[in-house]
Assembly symmetry: C2
Homo-oligomer: 231 residues x 2
DNA sequence: GGATGTGAAGTAGTTCACAGCC
DNA sequence: GGCTGTGAACTACTTCACATCC
């Protein structure tokens, strides 16, 4: 009864992108022993206004305390609920090169609800070795019907891997390869591209949008040494 | 005289995020020997409408040919100009673990205009080894006044590294560590967080926003097998 | 004919300002 | 007093529809 059907309320795209940022901030606060946080502080760290934070959080139900702010643990819980961390996701990773290693060994990649179920590579030297507690399999081995497939191969292999994932009945792909892949309708592909991040940063540098400049999505976290004026 | 002061026109944030995607598509088209592309085709691959593509590109000056589309090489050139690829950027990378390796060895990370100038790590076993043509230096060594600093360390070291970069007069930081860092005003920090990408994807899965769902920033590239209807 | 480029309309997201509650 | 939550105003982005030009 604690967190019922939150799934009904539709959150806006920008809000969804900001929630994980707030959650990370709340977790940091929690580790430092803080028990309360207010919208001003969250906004300061996330690089957005306090009003935006409040509107985003209001969409998850009203759980703040007027005059006091948000309870850190409740905040973490609510965001987790809204993002669906209470469900379970099986994740397979294809391409265990440097990037694949970095992902599966990262403590932060697999958040609550996500579970790594299999690793694949096509390098014979790699196949059979154990990485992050899983034996790396050959690409020709069957792929279980997981929830999410992560592509960490070079661009040249990305399309072939995407086809294999689709055949394995996987409908959500996170693609780290710098390559646009074609999939049937009904499959979502989300691209992550390091060079694009670098390019966006460079644009802002050139245009003096720099300091506070709008690096919105993923948040441009600027915290001044003098957070807020008193008067 | 070819690409003069394009830097005057201010592009919107969403447009800036899409331009690198269009550029990647154009490069793929170019490699396949195509010489022309139209807004319909770009939109199809990028996961946005043709109108959006046209408005984005119109902001770079009118270089399309009515009735025929855009010249692929001119398109690549114009986007490069708008994003400031004609300038030079010195990039330093701190933290040469799996992720750092993946970045510096990636053919796509360092786009035109960006040049890797130094690598740093604090692992004695790593220092002195050569990676991607550069000898890895100790963090205590002086950091040259580069344009962009990339943090690939664990979260625990991120703040310390950010401080060092700021001391070295670096005003743009790309932070891959899952950690919010505090920097003085005047320094831009752009966060890249794999787990956030995964969380956004999962949210869409839960909510059936799936197939065409709005995964806007970085683009959610959906291409149907039947790109455009004839009639 | 066919695709660009753009005013005008529509939609979505943010910010203001303040009522409500602790 | 202080901070949340939210109608109302505003701003920004997208989409429509079509004039324009090759």
């Amino acid at each position: 009864m604690a967190t019922p059907r939150l799934r009904s309320k539709k959150l806006s795209e920008p809000t969804i992108a900001r929630l994980p940022v707030y959650q990370r901030i709340a977790e940091g606060w929690s580790q430092r022993g803080e028990t309360k946080i207010d919208s001003q502080q969250i906004g300061e760290l996330a690089g957005v206004t306090a009003t935006t934070v409040r509107r985003d959080l209001a969409g998850l139900g009203s759980f703040g305390t007027r005059g006091a702010g948000y309870d850190v643990s409740v905040l973490i819980e609510r965001i987790a609920g809204a993002l669906g961390h209470d469900r379970h996701y099986d994740v397979v990773v294809v391409g265990i090169g440097n990037l694949g290693h970095a992902l599966v060994n990262s403590s932060s990649f697999l958040i609550r609800g996500a579970r790594l179920v299999a690793l694949y590579d096509n390098d014979p030297a790699m196949i059979g070795t154990e990485v992050a507690g899983h034996v790396v399999k050959a690409l020709s081995d069957p792929i279980p019907p997981a929830t999410v497939g992560v592509i960490c191969t070079p661009a040249s292999a990305a399309q072939e891997v995407a086809d294999r994932l689709v055949d394995a009945d996987i409908h959500a792909i996170l693609n780290f390869a710098p390559q646009v892949v074609t999939v049937p309708l009904g499959t979502a592909v989300h691209y992550v591209d390091f060079s694009i991040e670098l390019q966006i940063l460079m644009y802002h540098l050139n245009n003096g949008t720099g300091p506070l400049g709008g690096g919105l999505l993923h948040s441009l976290g600027i915290a001044s040494t003098n957070p807020l004026r008193g008067s």
